[in-house]
Structure formats: C-alpha cells, structure tokens
C-alpha cells in the first residue's frame, strides 16, 4: 500500500512539474514580447519597463525566471487578469469551483441514469430492451453537446419557460462566497428566503447539468452493460447457478460487485470528459465557470488568465485522475497480494 501511494505521488509531482514548465514557457510562445504579454502594459516608458522586468525577473537566466514563476505560483501570486484587473488566483478558484460543481452534479445524474440502465440492459442481453437501450445510447452519444444544450434552451426555457435561460442563480439573491459551491453556499448563508434561493439555484442547474449528463450517461450505460454481460457469462456465475442459487441470489451476491469493480476506474475517468463538455456548455448557459472564463480570456487575449486557467484545469484533472487511480488500486481486492495464506 505504501508503495502504491509513493508511486502515485511521485508520478503526480513529476507531471505537475512538467505542467508548470509548459505553462511557464507559454509566456514565451505567445506572439509578442513576453513581458508585455504578461503584464498587459504596452508602450511603457523605459523606466517602467525596467521596473517590470525586474519584478518578473526577466533579466536573469531562464532557470531563475522559472524559479521565480514557481515561487509566485505557490505563494498564490498568479498575476492579474487584464479584463477585470483582479488577482487571478481568486478568480480562477471561484470559476473552477463553479465548473467542478456543475460537473459533479452531471456525474451524479449520469451515474443515477446510466448504472441501473446498464445493469438492466446487460441482464437482458440480446433482448428487445437491450437493443432499444443500446440504440438510445448511440443516439445520445452522437448528439453534439452544444447542440443539445441549445435545443434544451429553445424548448424548455424559451418555449415552455420551465427553466431559466442562463446563469447560476437569479440576480435577486446575493449569496456570499464561501465554498464556491452554490448549493452549499446557500445552505451555509443566512440570506432571507433561503428555500427560494435554493430552489432557484436548482432550477438554474437542471438544464446545463442534464445536457452534460446525456453523453456521459450513455458512456456509463455502455461500459456497465459490457461488464455485466461479461461477468454474467463468466464461469463462476455459471458455477453459482449450478450450485442451485436463484438468479437473484447469483446477481446480488456475485454479479453486482464483480461487474462494478472493473468499470469503476473507467467510470471515474469519465469525469475528465465531463469537465471538457462542461466547459462547452458553460459558455452556452453563461455559467460562471472556468470554461466560460477561459474562452472569454482567449477572446480578449488575456494571456495571464489563459496561462493560469490552463494550469489550474490540467492540474485539477491530473490530480483527480491519479488520486482516483491510487484509491482504486488500494481498495481493489482482486489485486490484493497473498498475505497470510501461503502456508
């Protein structure tokens, strides 16, 4: 167990180091003078330029520039956004929290939809219900996310008016920033009409999270179905039947767990695709998340924001992937080594 943890942590540190190096070099790869790109100050006088260069350690060697950059990263000094002039660290952590919240709910929705349907379809393999679920999943998988989101807006917000068009919460409510997750923030805050604010936030959440969840739940469905079919055809399931256990007993005692274990890592990995889809959907629903922020930054050539945003997103994805892999490896009983039964 210690070895698994050490291996994963060293992998994480190494990859994060490479990532930081890439984001550092981005400043030099953008067109133009790196200093101008980073500060946003054009046509400055020679004096201010020299001052800025000193501030960013531009005159030193590349290595000490990098060192300076990493030091700044760790001390939370990520630079200022051109467009808002606010410190990026705070801005990015806010928008990242919003994105993570959206993707987390979408992930939950897709598990709630995909897992039971996948089990159903796997158990009724080659039957009508299996085929219809499979074709539904193909359709769901092939629909582009942005198109689905637009159609959803057109139908449910414009035509039917069930859900709000965009945003995270109605402007009527002023929720103080605390954890960054709007639902938790509402529950923690002491604003008047808490329930209404909560309901409003939920209503804002429905359309974006569902349109992200469409694709992911079809993936979850297919992965689960495949695994269930495989497990139910395996020898130990046949053996369990031959021992006279009923289909329900066989499925509950031997089927579910065995079907879930190989797919859990795959399912958890869907979080990254989800985050990507979330970034697209955010721009459509003007959700104040990192995807929306990054795209705005790209439009406005807000180089420090692009740099810091990319670093934040990739670091998040990386940390999540490696940690989940580690946790799965630690808890997977099939990989447990012989311990006390080798006599």
């Amino acid at each position: 167990m210690l070895r698994i943890m050490l291996r994963h942590i060293s992998l994480l540190i190494l990859t994060l180091f490479i990532l930081s190096f890439f984001s550092f070099s981005l400043a030099y790869l953008f067109p133009g003078d790196p200093l101008v790109n980073l500060t946003g100050i054009r046509d400055s006088s020679e004096q201010t330029y020299a001052l800025l260069a000193q501030q960013y350690a531009m005159n030193d060697s590349l290595f000490s520039q990098y060192w300076h950059y990493v030091n700044n990263l760790f001390s939370g000094n990520w630079g200022l956004s051109f467009s808002s002039g606010l410190p990026l660290a705070e801005e990015i952590s806010r928008s990242l929290a919003a994105s993570v919240e959206l993707s987390a709910y979408a992930l939950i929705i897709s598990f709630v939809i995909g897992l039971p349907l996948g089990f159903l379809s796997g158990l009724r393999h080659h039957k009508f219900i299996d085929y219809s679920l499979l074709s539904a999943s193909v359709i769901g998988y092939s629909i582009p996310v942005f198109w689905a989101a637009l159609i959803a807006i057109l139908l449910f917000s414009v035509q039917l008016g069930w859900f709000p068009l965009s945003g995270r919460i109605s402007l009527l409510y002023d929720i103080p920033y605390d954890t960054g997750f709007i639902l938790i923030d509402i529950l923690l805050s002491d604003v008047p009409d808490k329930e209404f604010a909560f309901q409003d936030a939920l209503r804002h959440l429905v359309l974006p999270s569902v349109s992200i969840a469409i694709v992911t739940s079809t993936i979850v469905l297919r992965i689960t179905r495949r695994s269930v079919v495989e497990v139910m055809n395996s020898e130990y399931i046949q053996a369990a039947y031959a021992r006279g256990l009923s289909p329900r007993q066989v499925f509950v005692r031997h089927g579910i767990k065995n079907a879930l274990i190989p797919i859990l890592p795959l399912l958890v990995m869907q979080f990254t695709t989800l985050l990507t889809n979330a970034m697209i959907v955010e721009t459509i629903f003007s959700w104040p998340g990192i995807g929306n922020g990054l795209i705005q930054a790209i439009y406005q050539r807000d180089f420090p924001a692009i740099r810091a945003g990319m670093l934040a997103v990739s670091a998040l994805v990386l940390t999540f992937t490696i940690t989940s892999d580690m946790v799965i490896q630690i808890f997977d009983p099939a990989r447990r080594r012989p311990e006390d039964a080798t006599s």
């Binding site: 020898e235 046949q238 369990a240 039947y241 021992r243 006279g244 009923s246 031997h254 006390d340």
Partner: protein, 331 residues
Amino acid sequence: MILLDIKNLTLEIESQSGWIKALDKINLVITEGQIHALVGESGSGKSIIVKAIVGAISDRWRITADRMTWRGQDLLKMSVRERRKIIRSDISVIFQNPKSSLDPIVTLGNQLKEVILATNLEKGMFWNRAKQRKKYASELLHRVGIKHHEAYMRSLPHQIPNDICQKFMIAMALASQPKLIIADDPTRGMEITDKSQILKLLTRVNQVRKLSILFVSHDLLAISSMADHMTVLYCGQTVESGRMNQLRRRALHPYTKALLESAPSFRTDLPPKSPLSSLGGTIPTFQHLPIGCRLGPRCPRARRECVKVPEVRRIHEHTYSCHFPLHRDQK
C-alpha cells in the same frame, strides 16, 4: 436405486449453418453409490452433458430427451425453480477450473457458507445460525483435508494454491450433503501428488457416505483406479457403456479399444520401444460432423453401413453402438 436416468438426450446448438447436434442421443444411467466415469477426448461434449444435467444452459441451446429423470422425477418437465431446488439439495458439481469457478472477490469462507443449506444446521434461533454455519464450514474443510482453515477461509481464490481451491470446491460440493457429485475433470492441470490426494478424497467420500460420483475426465489411469462403471463418449455420441472391468477386458467398440490402447499402462504385452498405437486423424469440429456413426472417418473397421447411426445394442449391463463390434464376429 437409480438416481439419474438419461435416455436419448440430444442437445442442439444454434450456429450460422443451422442447428448442430452437439450431443446426439446420449444415454447415461447412474445408480446409488456408484462411481461412474464419463470418458472422451476433449471436445466430445463431456462438459456439455454436465451443464445439461445441472441446467446451466445457454439460450441458444435446445434440449430434447426421451427421458431425463432424477429419482423418478422428470427434470425436463419441471419448472426452473423446482429443478434448482433439487440441484441445490441433491446434486453438486465440481468444475474443472477451481479458480475461475470461484467468485474472485468474495472470500472462500463466505462462498462456502453460502452453499450450506439451513436444513443442514441444527435447529436453533436465527442468531445462532452464523456460528453454526461457521462451525459446519470448518468441519467440512477438515473433512476434505484442509488444516489451516481459519487462514484459508479469510483469503480470496487467487491467493491460494490450485489444489486447495479444488478442495474448497469439493467441500462446497459436500456442503449440501448431496446424493450425486458431478466431478468435471477435477484434477486438470494439477501436480501428481495433489491429484492423487483429490482422487483419494473422492473415493473416500464415495465409500463413507454412499455417494454417487459422475467422474468426467480423460485421465484413464485415474478412472480405472476408482470408477466401477464407464461410459465412453465420442463427438457427442455414446459409444460404449458398461462395467469398468468388462470394458477393459473386452471392449466391443473400436473407439473404446483405441482409447484403452492409447494408455500404455493398460497394456501388459507392450514390448519395449514399440510404437504407441493411436487412431489416425483428429476429432472433427462441430461444424464438420460426419453423418452416421461419427467415428466413421477414423474407424479402422468402417464399412458402408456406418453412414447410418448404429442402434444401441445390449449384452446384460454392457451397451454399445456399433455395426461391426470387435470380438462379436469372431464367434
């Protein structure tokens, strides 16, 4: 008393070129206290028979039989639930790959406890059940010769050696105190010492508890040391069936003879450095089964009549299906 009586069991498997008869009119009778060997090359349908008996059947199989009864009850006519009940209490199966027939993520102890029926426990309140189950399970393990039962019950199938796994399977088979144990090649891929242990164990179980065993294997040496009846199978057809010593002394079917001759330890007259005899050709694939007697193309005695399926003939307990049996024509 006759336990299992199968007459003309035919099992067809759906394939691209229509229904293929994987089993063609199989006959099998097992009486109480008997060790019955089912012999045949790999691919002759031995394991399919086992699956057909216990009802672990795929949707794409079609089973017909004139008779398939368990102690007089028709297995084919009864509902799935009734059949499962019989199998749970009366028939146990030991599979050929102990490791893949055990759930990889449930501890062996729990898997063993799962097959212990409530009726086999002493009467007691339900809070005593878990304890009784545990006691019963460890008794079973001692009976099959596992000493460190505590450690093994806590482990998972991949953590322990193959023969211990197989002993666990036997313990599981004994757990429900069945009337018949079907052992589907239980010693496959095992070392010779482990193998003899398992075989001894099965023989002892048969003698002590008056338990019938259907022993499916192609290991003639093992079979001849323990079985008293033998059914020879070729390509899904029963070729010959009878008492072990009778078959060994006077095999009537050419295939049985070839099979027995292929094992050098059965031949006392084999001079040193003489070539070992074997039948030419290989067992045909399921897609290219010959018509009539399926041994036809390989049979040294085949004649024109062999394109028709030979009838089952009987001399006392000894049955065979061949148009031109050995020994008979010499008289």
